[in-house]
């Protein structure tokens, strides 16, 4: 064993040793090893996982190839292509190996391939739609499947009695019923694969798809009951067995659903407590859902139903509890797994069909089955729909019925079940296998190919997507309540009544129990729509090249909320840090509540999408926590680019201001900023205008100091230019003792041209009008204009006061020769214009007591200008070691997510 390990370790060393491989292999068998082998071929140790990976890889590559041609995929569903590919591959394997090697094993299928698909469909099932149509779905799933199974089985038996099936097929009525039960169920995998590309209207889709998911219980029961009857022999079946069969239908379906709900509850409850271990949130979702599947399978309950219910039940709470990143992770992992499994299933179906040793052909049986399943499906749908329409508000019309009948695709479930049959008990198994393969291929390929043209030709109502609006969301809620109330008045306890009851119960107990406090609000649907609209606006706004933050009394709907949130944030932070002053503006930005956190995440997402990172990853990485540094660095870089660009344009157009290069470093949440604050406090009361009086442009360069804990951040400094913070003070401003910084952030430096764009000219804060189009970014929701102003003033003033610092850590300030500066250049980083209201003259106590600061911020009127950029900076830090003649303020993106 040890030897093997050693040899394995040697493996990477031996690139050229490949030629030795056969001798090594033979040598290692019986004889003592000839020494340390340089290379060893260990195929059998990795064979199984390697093959699995290889199959998935082949399937994925095939998928890529199919999608190279848009024309092909628009005409032919992917599932058809995959089955055909499987046929070809199976043929190749057969030709090479002379026997069919690989095929769809029922064990693999039920334990590994099916769960991800079902979980995906359950989790992302539109629950409202599903429950709105639950009656129809259940009818089709239960009655429809029973009907299909019995009629098909009996009809085939009749066919045999009529002598149309060859006598080789030794099967009695029970065998045919067994076959009917496994062939009758509409397959969720096949339906999903085909219908996802067809885009019929959502009601139709949910009915067909919901049926295919829920009929699993019926299929399982029928299959098991028939199978045990066949194994017992028809003579031994007694009346009680039939009763048991009926009873087991309820046990299996309700039991499966119950298992799913229990696990959904557990899952929701668990995610409530993952606040500090966000990284395992996605894993929990998969683990518990899979556990639900396995538990149901173990208890011979309907596993598909269990996972469906688990996904359906937990989604609301899980989505509220887990972080935004985890949500994305869950979504993509789930989709990836499901797509993988689906691909492999179809490909293996194709491959399995090649194995001719397993099947025997009988034309009568095959054709008869094909005809019967189509015929009885159609008949069943028409009959059930007629009954259902008596009770439906919106009747299903004829076209819907055609699509529903035609959409009854059979798939891998039927195939896996037929493979599971015992040949000794079911002598006709080979015939059944052949028939099932033909039926599956026919439904997936022929019906799959033709359903799209059919839907087009019949002009089936397509699904239409329109953007959600707040009004619609609100009115929809109103309508729900109105209907519930009217049902109360009429005294009829119908669907709306029970839905209303459920929602009340959910609100009162379930959500309280299963959702985090902080998450509770987010899940309000109206708020959710509002939030998403804001995000969308922000994105589109940024895409148009606008600034993320705006000013000038915009009628931003989120303004008031921003205020309140950030105020609480500030107070919280100050309370926590116990520090008197907050020099840096990131503090204001610091988020505390879950909502704020989410905003910040979204903001960072936006930031990340707006520029191309050119950095490498850092060497260090945490296993248990996602490192925030990458994001932090990215954000910093965005900022630096902005600033650099600004500075360059400023430089080139205006003045010969020296441009310092220095080495900024990231830092983590540290305490060193307090030094700066202390300085600020100490010097706050000094005259403010010292040194600035005759300064036209000042470059403040504060070289940042590495903190002890940021050991790993050295790697990134080389291509950084320092963040140059240009403060330009016009004498006019300073004489008035007033300052108002207008920092304009361009989210992406590439977007903003050096000269003012049209958009810029029309931007609200340019035109100074408040009623312009409202763009609300996620960022705006976490930054308070008022606090920003204060914070900005504070930092400015503290910097100023640092000009004559008493402490050794303070860098020196060099005043550049005075330059008269104009402010017509829009990209000038700091636009100091006179603002009569905002000034440096905030009370000194502000810097000491954070509470008073936030209070005072509330007193301030809405400021005309914001300082957007500063919001991202986490720490401003003063370096001791510079004999540099500049101050450079090092800005960091907050890593406080």
């Amino acid at each position: 064993m040890l030897r093997t390990t050693l040899l394995l370790l040697c493996l990477p060393l031996a690139g050229a040793g490949a030629t030795e491989e056969p001798t090594q292999e033979s040598g290692s068998l019986g004889e003592p090893p000839p020494g340390l082998a340089l290379f060893r071929w260990q195929w059998h140790e990795v064979e199984a996982p390697y093959l699995v990976a290889l199959w998935i890889l082949v399937a994925s590559l095939a998928k890529i190839v199919f999608h190279l041609s848009r024309k092909v995929t628009s005409l032919v569903p992917e599932s058809c292509l995959l089955i055909l590919l499987g046929l070809v591959l199976g043929g190749i394997v057969l030709a090479v190996a002379k026997k069919a090697e690989y095929q769809l094993e029922p064990g693999t299928f039920f334990l590994f391939l099916l769960p991800p698909i079902v979980l995906d469909s359950g989790y992302f099932m539109p629950s409202r739609l599903f429950f709105d149509n639950l009656g129809a779905i259940l009818t089709y799933a239960v009655v429809g499947t029973l009907w299909n199974a019995f009629t098909t089985g009996v009809a085939l038996w009749g066919l045999q009695q009529a002598g149309l099936v060859a006598s080789r097929v030794q099967a009695g009525l029970l065998d045919f019923l067994l076959f009917g039960s496994l062939i009758s169920a509409v397959d969720p995998v096949a339906v999903l694969a085909v219908f996802e590309e067809v885009h019929v209207n959502e009601t139709l889709f949910i009915i067909v798809f919901g049926e295919s998911l829920l009929n699993d219980a019926v299929t399982v029961v029928l299959y098991k009951v028939c199978n045990s009857f066949v194994e017992m022999g028809s003579a031994n079946v007694q009346a009680t067995d039939y009763m048991k069969g009926v009873a087991s239908l309820f046990v299996v379906s309700l039991g499966g659903a119950a298992v799913g709900l229990v696990f959904a509850f557990l899952l929701a409850l668990t995610t409530r407590f993952t606040k500090r271990v966000r990284i395992i949130e996605p894993l929990l979702v998969f683990l518990l859902a899979y556990a639900a599947y396995l538990t149901a399978e173990m208890a011979s309950l309907s596993a598909i139903l269990a996972v469906t219910m688990c996904g359906l039940g937990c989604k609301k709470y899980v989505e509220a509890n887990i972080s935004h990143k985890s949500r994305t992770a869950v979504k993509y992992t789930m989709k990836t797994l499901a797509s993988c499994a689906e691909t492999v299933i179809f490909m293996l179906l194709g491959i399995s069909a090649v194995d001719s040793s397993k099947w025997a052909w009988d034309s009568g049986l095959v054709l008869g089955t094909l005809f019967f399943i189509l015929f009885f499906r159609a008949l069943g749908v028409v009959l059930q729909t007629w009954v259902l329409n008596q009770f439906r508000l919106v009747p299903l019309d004829k076209i819907d019925q055609v699509v529903m009948s035609y959409g009854g695709l059979r798939g891998a479930v039927a195939f896996a079940l037929v493979i599971l049959l015992d040949r000794t008990k079911v002598p006709a198994k080979d015939y059944f296998v052949a028939t099932t393969i033909v039926v599956v291929f026919f439904t997936v390929i022929v019906q799959g190919l033709t359903i799209k043209p059919l839907v087009k030709w019949l002009k089936v109502k397509r699904s239409e997507h329109h953007k959600p609006t707040l009004n619609q969301e609100l009115h929809e809620h109103t309508f729900d309540h109105i209907l519930a109330a009217v049902e109360d008045v009429v005294g009829h306890h119908g669907y709306h009544y029970w839905r209303d009851r459920w929602e009340q119960f959910d609100k009162k107990y379930l959500s309280q129990l299963l959702m985090r406090r902080s998450a509770y609000r987010i899940r309000d649907q109206i708020w959710d729509v509002y939030y998403r609209l804001n995000i969308r606006d922000a994105i589109s706004f940024v895409d148009q090249g606008g600034h993320v933050l705006s000013s000038t009394g915009l009628t931003l709907p989120s303004m008031p909320s921003r205020n309140s949130m950030a105020e609480t944030s500030v107070t919280n932070l100050l309370r926590e840090s116990g520090s008197g002053a907050c020099l840096d503006l990131q503090v204001i930005d610091t988020v505390r509540s879950g909502r704020d956190r989410e905003d910040a995440v979204m903001h960072h997402l936006l930031c990340g999408g707006l520029y191309k990172p050119r950095r490498r990853y850092k060497a260090s990485c945490g296993r248990h926590f996602i490192s925030e540094d990458a994001q932090e660095r990215q954000d910093k870089e965005v900022f630096q680019q902005n600033m650099k660009r600004r500075l360059e344009s400023f430089k080139s157009t205006k003045h010969n201001i020296c441009f310092t290069k220095n080495k900024p470093r990231t830092r983590k949440a540290g305490h060193k900023k307090k030094d700066g604050m202390a300085n600020a406090e100490a010097t706050l009361e000094k005259p403010r205008d010292l040194g600035f009086q005759d300064t036209a442009a000042v470059i403040l360069t504060v070289e940042s100091e590495e903190e002890e804990e940021s050991d790993s951040s050295e790697t990134e400094k080389e291509d950084d230019e320092g963040i140059i913070f240009v403060a330009r003070a016009t004498s006019e401003v300073l004489q008035e003792g007033k300052i108002s910084g207008s920092f304009e952030v361009c989210p992406s430096p590439r977007i903003i041209p050096p000269s003012p764009t049209c958009a810029e000219k029309e931007l609200p804060w340019k035109s100074g009008q408040g009623d312009l189009a409202v763009y609300v970014s996620s960022e705006t929701t976490k930054i308070v204009p008022v606090d920003m102003q204060t914070g900005w003033n504070q930092s400015i003033s503290s910097l100023e006061s640092l000009a004559s610092p008493p402490c050794t850590q303070a860098p020196t300030l060099t005043c550049l020769p005075p330059h008269p500066l104009g402010i017509e250049e829009p990209q000038v980083p700091l636009d100091l214009s006179a603002d009569p209201r905002s000034s440096f003259a905030f009370p000194p106590s502000l810097a000491k007591a954070g509470r008073s600061r936030s209070e005072s911020s509330a007193d301030l009127p809405q400021q005309q200008e914001l300082q957007p950029l500063m919001g991202h900076k986490d720490h401003t830090h003063l370096s001791p070691g510079t004999a540099n003649s500049h101050w450079c303020i090092q800005f960091n993106r907050g890593g406080r997510l």
Partner: protein, 196 residues
């Protein structure tokens, strides 16, 4: 079922009510039975308290407003005709009936417009034909969970009003209201199946 009448002819003014509301006989009978159950003192009309005793209405955020909509003309009582008239808004739209309708007839109570008007008057408390910002705020307060702060609610209100407000008067008129719901299947969403 106590005083439930088993014959359609026992309902006062039955023909006129049928014409006006379009209810089927069975529905009218059912409603009349319900009306009589709610009318505890056999007054022949319903008062506010009769409706308020319905348990589930009390927890319905719009319960009071729905009750108010039965007493729109300011009176404190509603007879069966009025009761049926309000509920007729929720009768499902019958396409055949809609196709054969004489265009000169007044729109049936269950038309899309009337359904919308019913919803609109639940918002428009002061009945000035406009949902003001304040009225919108009140509805949102009822709809949105308590966890949303007042400021946030105000922002949502502003945005909601802005979204629908086309003429810029800061309020939502009925026309703007219908426009904001253009894409929604009102006929389906504001109907109750049993009220045929």
């Amino acid at each position: 079922m106590g005083p439930r009448s088993s014959h359609i002819a026992l309902i006062p003014d039955v023909d006129q009510i049928r014409n006006e509301t379009g209810f089927s006989e069975a529905s009218l009978l059912r409603l009349y039975g319900r009306f009589q159950t709610l009318d505890r003192n056999k007054k022949g009309f319903l008062s506010r308290t009769d409706l308020q005793q319905i348990g589930a209405l009390a927890v319905n955020p719009l319960g009071d407003r729905i009750i108010d909509s039965f007493f729109l003309d300011g009176s404190q009582q509603v007879d069966f005709a009025g009761f049926a008239r309000v509920l007729a808004h929720f009768r499902p739209v019958d396409e055949e009936e809609a196709a054969t309708r004489d265009p000169k007839d007044p729109e049936p109570l269950n038309s899309r417009m009337n359904k919308l008007r019913f919803a609109f008057q639940l918002y428009d408390l002061d009945r000035d034909g406009k949902i003001s910002r304040n009225e919108m705020l009140q509805v949102l307060r009822l709809m949105v969970g308590v966890q949303v702060t007042d400021e946030q609610l105000e922002s949502i209100t502003d945005r909601t009003v802005q979204e629908a407000d086309e003429d810029g008067d800061g309020a939502v008129s009925f026309l703007e209201f219908t426009k904001s719901l253009e894409k929604m299947n009102i006929e389906q969403k504001m109907s109750i199946r049993i009220l045929k």
